[in-house]
Symmetry: C2
Subunit: 177 residues, 2 copies
């Protein structure tokens, strides 16, 4: 009856790319590129890791030097789960929650002064994020080798940038009306 669970699969994917990650590292992944496509906070992640260990999707190791940090790795079962999840066909469109567009929707009069306020603030917000992503792109993928080494990572960063760019261009066309 509840919503379909997908957080554990994303964690599997992160661990597949970064064996031995800590919970903190996984949390940070959601603050960077992955956050453009899925959100999760540390208070979801830690219990989920615990559950995944119980289910033998991942295993946990620790370092004698640092009792506190725990390192996670995929098990064979986890690898299977990840791969079969990736192969499940996607039938639903991406889901977007966009308060800005909704507010715009509710203002019916083309000359309502609130439109330009809304648009300008949104432009600032989006341009700031675009700068941030452009910086990351320059830092992470400045050579062809780096791009093909982490191709998936490169792709979704490009995707996020393209998406933002499209939003910004569209907003600028509104301003002129």
């Amino acid at each position: 009856m509840p919503k379909k669970r997908i957080l554990p699969y994303i964690i599997l994917g992160i661990l597949d790319q970064n064996p031995g990650s800590t919970g903190k590292f996984i949390t940070n992944q959601f603050k960077n590129e992955i956050g453009e496509f899925w959100k999760a906070s540390h208070s979801q992640i830690y219990p989920e890791l615990k559950k995944m260990v119980e289910d033998d999707w991942i295993k946990q190791t620790s370092d004698s030097n640092n009792e506190k940090e725990k390192y996670y790795h995929l098990t064979n079962l986890g690898k299977e789960k990840l791969n079969s999840w990736i192969d499940i066909p996607i039938t639903a469109l991406p889901v977007v929650e966009d308060l800005f567009s909704l507010k715009l929707f509710f203002i019916q009069d083309p000359h309502d002064p609130r439109i330009s306020t809304l648009v300008n603030k949104q432009l600032n917000l989006l341009e700031e994020q675009l700068d941030h992503l452009n910086d990351r792109e320059k830092m992470l993928f400045n050579t062809q080798e780096k791009r093909s080494k982490n191709y998936g990572h490169y792709l979704i960063l490009e995707r996020a940038i393209s998406r933002l760019d499209n939003q910004i261009k569209w907003l600028k066309t509104i301003k002129q009306c």
Copy 2:
């Protein structure tokens, strides 16, 4: 502590544009344009309407011919709530849940055959939706008058189309690599 409530504000916006809507009508709004920017199902909406009546954000009337259908209208308090909500500055970026991009992210090898399968299926999905939105645009906004009469509605439909178009173009560039 829980997530910030925004569903009632969206319902206010819908009722502002369509006084006398039924729960069914509101539910359908979420299946069309609004659904591109926020999701809600009827099992959320009916209890919410009840609560909003109790809080005097909206009032309910009914038709003697049809006992079953209930019609909702904004109260003055509701109008105030809607307007002050629209004026609250937006500080967070739109939230996206996009399984396709995530799966792409987890495939690191540029030559992995699963990439083209994923991409082709996603292209079909997106193009189908684009056709649907283009049809709606032609039907709803084929004259300048219609566009300025429901400007907000027009804007977000354009936004949704532009966004889809951007996704599709980007996917096609991947295919060539």
